[in-house]
Amino acid sequence: MSTHSQPMKRLKGLAIKRSVGELIFDNLNILLMVAFAFMTLYPFWYILILSLNEGKDTTMGGIWFWPRKFSLDNYAFVILNPIVINAYKITILRTVSGSLLTLLVCGLAAYALTKHALPGRNFVITMFIIPMFIGGSIVSYYVVFAKLGMLNRFWVYIIPGCFSFFQMIIMRTFMYTIPPSLEESAKIDGAGYFRIFMRIIVPLSMPIVATTLLFSAVGHWLDFYTNMVFVGKRSLMTLQYLLWLVVRAQQGSLNALTEEKAMGTGNQGLLRQQVTPESIRMATIMVVTLPILFIYPFLQRYFVKGVLIGSVKE
């Protein structure tokens, strides 16, 4: 007993007892972490409290950490605004349909390319790789989309980006880990490729299916570029572009939210009371940003896993 306990004690002592230098480092490190966390969170917090403050009161300044005159008027204006509601609808629609389409297109291609003996396989892969090096500039895309009749159509949100070579490779890497014997025995039972894909490959690829959906969904939710460049129609406006119009593009006016359509809803009365364009902008930021900030922490570990699956290939 005693012969064993001596070195054990020493090891334990090494693990727990910290030298002065280490103690200083640990505390400094925690301080640094807190500082960076503060830098990250405070801007969001600041806009949140200002958006919850009475607009006129905010203009007097001096608000730092807490609303001074709590008010939900700003949110009432934004949330009840039909343009915002429509942007929400469009964004959700494109996020759901777009990520499902990405999953389908990438998944099918990935499965087909796990078959090394498929004639033409290398040709197809080369064909996918070349555009990763050289593509068109925004002008060429604009011209092509214009000529394909895709400007101002909902499709432009989901179709052009639905195939990602990178995502496909990640899916394929995962599919390689599915034992081929499963597929072969299904084949012997008379299952065709469609059935094998739907009944064996997809159910066994659930982790990568979830990852693809999550990353694709985030990409769709955050995309403002496609809307800005290719879609001018108000009825197809997405949340991020709406936010850009409200906050960035027209400093000083709220045209994006107060055009005729919105007028009839009684919002105008609100506008004359305690809200200001500034406070409306801040509420809009929160209305667009908060949902994803609330959902993300619950899905965090899947995202982290996804990054790591993706980096295996690199």
């Binding site: 090494l14 499965y111 068109g136 195939f163 955050l222």
Partner: protein, 312 residues
Amino acid sequence: MQAGALNKRRFSSVLSTEWPLYLFLAPAVVVTILFAYLPMFSNIIAFMDYNIMAGWMGLASPWAGFKNFTKMFHDEQFWPLVWRTFYYSVVRLVTGQPAPFILALLINEVRNRLFKRTVQTIFYLPHFVSWVTIASLAYWFLTTDTSGVLNNVRQVLGAQNRIIYMKFPSNFPWVLAITGIIKEAGWGTIIYLAAISGVDAQLYEAAKIDGAGRWKQFVHVTFPSILPTTVILLIFSFGGLFASNFDQIYNLQNPMIKYDTNTINVYVYYTGVQSGKYSAAAALGLFQGVINATIMLGVNWFAKKVSGHGFF
């Protein structure tokens, strides 16, 4: 076995059994042709006096040879644009590459599990926010309005005036660097933390028994273990040396400094899509595309040589 058999069969008989696989590939192939190859080929409008109404796809437009390129090289905007595209990319590289590396090492040294997980969640958060939002937050940090945080802090500290931070193009690289770090540094730690957690625990045990403190453990175990990952990520990052981040720059610009902070791809958007000068913009875009492709091929070659891994 089955694979070999497949190879020897004639294509027609392959097709009779394997056609579903080609069907599976079809959507990806069609999308690639339409939305990658067509735009790639429409780069030829850089060699035309492009008129979008002239014939199918505007392809009946008259040829212009290298006229658009000669014009481009003589444009007084050209060299400043090239320089800025390069400069902003270097700023992003120099700040954006070390930040997640250092942050990951510091996170790794945190001992309290709950604290560690909490700060990680916070650090990852801005990755899930668009540049539109980040730019809006930055706006209220820098503005001279009564809500401008930075000016308010200055006044609390005794300053009398309020500075119009967004008026000076020289502040722009700083804005890019800081917003870039806040948005992506946390997310970038994931890959380093994974590399660190992959280090064999026995190495640490051995180091401890040899009397290594935490600093020595870091120098002799942690650092060498994650060096390969770091080097690969660094090499890959050079691929972006001439590719500026459109979303970031476009969103953080404001009318006061717009013309002094444009990079090539932002400028191409303004001239090509907004002003409709298709050919001029396409020439500039192609110029950037060719340089980018060259850099990427070089980086890919170098990465393969050094580490055995390319982009794919």
